[in-house]
Symmetry: C2
Subunit: 407 residues, 2 copies
């Protein structure tokens, strides 16, 4: 085992917060990110929230010499915002778009339009390690106390875990970097880590340097909305680098760093999130270690049960919404039919003693039509939501049975 | 190699055409399918177009003794229609919904509402073979000469191939059964087979029995729309069982059968499609055969190029539609603004010498609003379509470069 060549892999992960017209000092920050990446020479760079393809193209041109391989993942209306720059050839990519991602009518939260996804570049680092390094972002948490998106985020965490389990089987090393929008102790993170066997670089790092507790959303950052961080005076950790070795490799996290409220040597941060930088050691072992697909810990069954309970709660809420939007559509349809009957009656010469109120009649008809279209659309949407939540609950139940049957 | 135990696997695949209220003699046919499956005792049953969950539940109850393991894949508004019955435990499932699947406004074609997908049950057959057996259905072809859905179907075939490549790496055997809605020589089939290395049970079978050329949509079937089959007097083959062995196994197709226009011993067919039944021999080899992920044949580059050309044509069409819907939305917005200006002018007392035409004004405003909402929705939809087609074109380009760089 000793004496085998070691690969030292330096990874950079950042939620860039580069929304055109909305993010403050975007162009300046994207330039700064590009300069830093070029100067530092990481092996692998995973970026999220690069919403503008033009920003990606500029970065690509700037970084062409030090990161000859790159990929931008396209999805949704706006895009997935995910891109990857690599020193090693990217052999193949796969994009998995989460089946649930918020509501199209929550315009102010915008997640639905982003087509959030996990992008999977498969690459080969040196001669040692076929490497899968998904970059991803999950649905944002807008209100921790009354988190309406928790079931959606859990479905995403579950789909992500399943995606990693199914795609990683023949890889030597899996690296995952991204903004998971969950605190380290949240059920979604425990589910993801428990079900895939991924290890948290922050918890495993021999040496750590950066914000206290590895936080990546900190009050020191001038772009952070401090009112959101009031319950967490030190900040929160929602950006992660996770990893695991499969087959005959071992991975160790030598060092983990975060920026601390501003870019190194500058007075402006890269983003409203801190960057996470890890140095990993990948070494070939003498013998295959066997696939570690997940913990068989009995605690895992508890985590899956907890997640399934939340998904069930989401399913009940989605069923209520499906019902109420369906009822609204039926009522609007009835109103339209009633109006049609009244109009036909008038045409047939009934009730001619009174003048027919054309304008209010038209207004009412259009209102009913608008409500009908809207309610039908929402009904279809919530029907899909019910199907997906139900499907996830099913899958979790199947896994729970398998876990409980294990000796 | 000789003397190792052989697993004989009997597989049944059928597009059931079980659409509630629309498919003729549905309940009778579903009962017949259930009876046949119970009587024949296959090892693995892959069904498509079981759109009603009630039909699935009835089948599940009926087949509980001979197929103790089953799964129904939920997605889209109506469902995916996919379900699997198995003699062997289903350990885990994964559903991958294609990112493009027709247009929501093509109500008469309905594919968009189905959430077409590939469902992946992972099971363990006997002690020999971890088995992945995706069941799937691709977008239907409504007009072969002027096939507007070809780019969508190619994106689906590509995503399917990528999904199989990425998920199958550690499986021993991959079986794929389903209605691919493509003729055997179509570019999508050649792409799927070339890029995954899957073999066609019909071409490989030692013994074949059934409709000529393995056709599964035949004029002898009383539910088939014969006008669609006019250019193909023998029928067409669009339902497939494909397979490949990975790691240290070999798979051979001993026998392939199709029904011939009616269920065996009955005067009614199972469906408008013929059922496909394969008997496979799976044997462990002495030495690992190495993963066969796809053909490295130079012909593969030609197939990918051909598919990419079609996707590019689809991309250009999608861009035109995005542009024209965007323009329509802008025009509707301008009309609304003009009307708002006119209304404000009237309120301010301009043009009071003429009576204000309230009714036509209202009608026009509602018309403009309707067009605005519709055109904006379509614009968003075509923007997503452009992103996905562009993303697929990118991926194909990346694969082409890798293929051309290979010695």
């Amino acid at each position: 085992m000793e004496g085998e060549p070691t690969l030292r892999l330096r990874i950079f992960d950042l939620n860039c917060w580069a929304i055109r017209y909305l993010s403050r000092r975007r162009q300046e920050r994207v330039r700064l990110i590009g300069d830093t990446l070029r100067h530092e020479g990481f092996d692998l760079v995973l970026l999220q929230e690069v919403w503008s393809e033009q920003d990606y193209s500029e970065l690509k041109v700037k970084l062409a010499n030090c990161y000859p391989f790159s990929h931008y993942f396209r999805s949704g209306v706006i895009g997935s915002g995910l891109c990857v720059f690599s020193k090693f050839p990217i052999l193949d990519t796969l994009l998995y778009q989460y089946s649930l991602n918020g509501y199209p009518y929550m315009l102010q939260h915008g997640d639905w339009f982003c087509g959030k996804a996990v992008g999977l570049p498969g690459s080969r680092a040196g001669v040692t390690a076929p490497l899968l390094s998904p970059s991803l972002q999950l649905h944002a948490e807008y209100c921790r106390d009354k988190d309406a998106y928790l079931p959606h985020r859990l479905v995403q965490a579950w789909e992500l875990a399943q995606f990693i389990r199914h795609t990683s089987k023949a890889a030597d090393v899996v690296l995952l970097g991204g903004d998971l929008n969950m605190h380290p102790e949240d059920v979604g993170i425990r589910l993801l880590r428990g079900w895939t066997g991924l290890r948290d670089a922050f918890a495993e790092a021999t040496h750590f340097e950066g914000c206290k507790n590895g936080c990546t959303l900190v009050p020191d950052n001038c772009f952070t909305n401090n009112s959101e961080l009031l319950p967490f005076p030190l900040g929160i950790r929602i950006d992660y680098i996770l990893y695991k070795a499969i087959s005959s490799f071992t991975v160790k996290c030598e060092e983990l760093k975060t920026t601390t409220g501003r870019a190194p040597g500058r007075d402006i941060p890269f983003s409203d999130h801190e960057a996470v930088m890890a140095t990993l050691h990948i070494q070939r072992q003498g013998q295959p270690a066997g696939a570690t697909l997940g913990t068989s810990d009995p605690a895992l069954a508890d985590v899956v049960t907890e997640a399934r309970t939340e998904v069930c709660a989401g399913l009940r809420a989605a069923r209520r919404q499906r019902y109420s939007t369906g009822r609204m559509a039926v009522l609007a349809l009835l109103l339209l039919l009633l109006q049609a009957a009244a109009a036909l009656g008038t045409l047939a010469g009934l009730g001619t003693e009174q003048p027919f109120p054309k304008l209010s009649f038209c207004l009412l008809a259009f209102l009913a039509l608008g409500v009908l279209v809207l309610a039908t659309g929402l009904h279809l949407f919530h029907t899909m939501e019910v199907k997906k939540l139900h499907g996830t609950e099913d899958q979790m139940g199947m896994v729970l049975r398998a876990l409980q049957e294990r000796p």
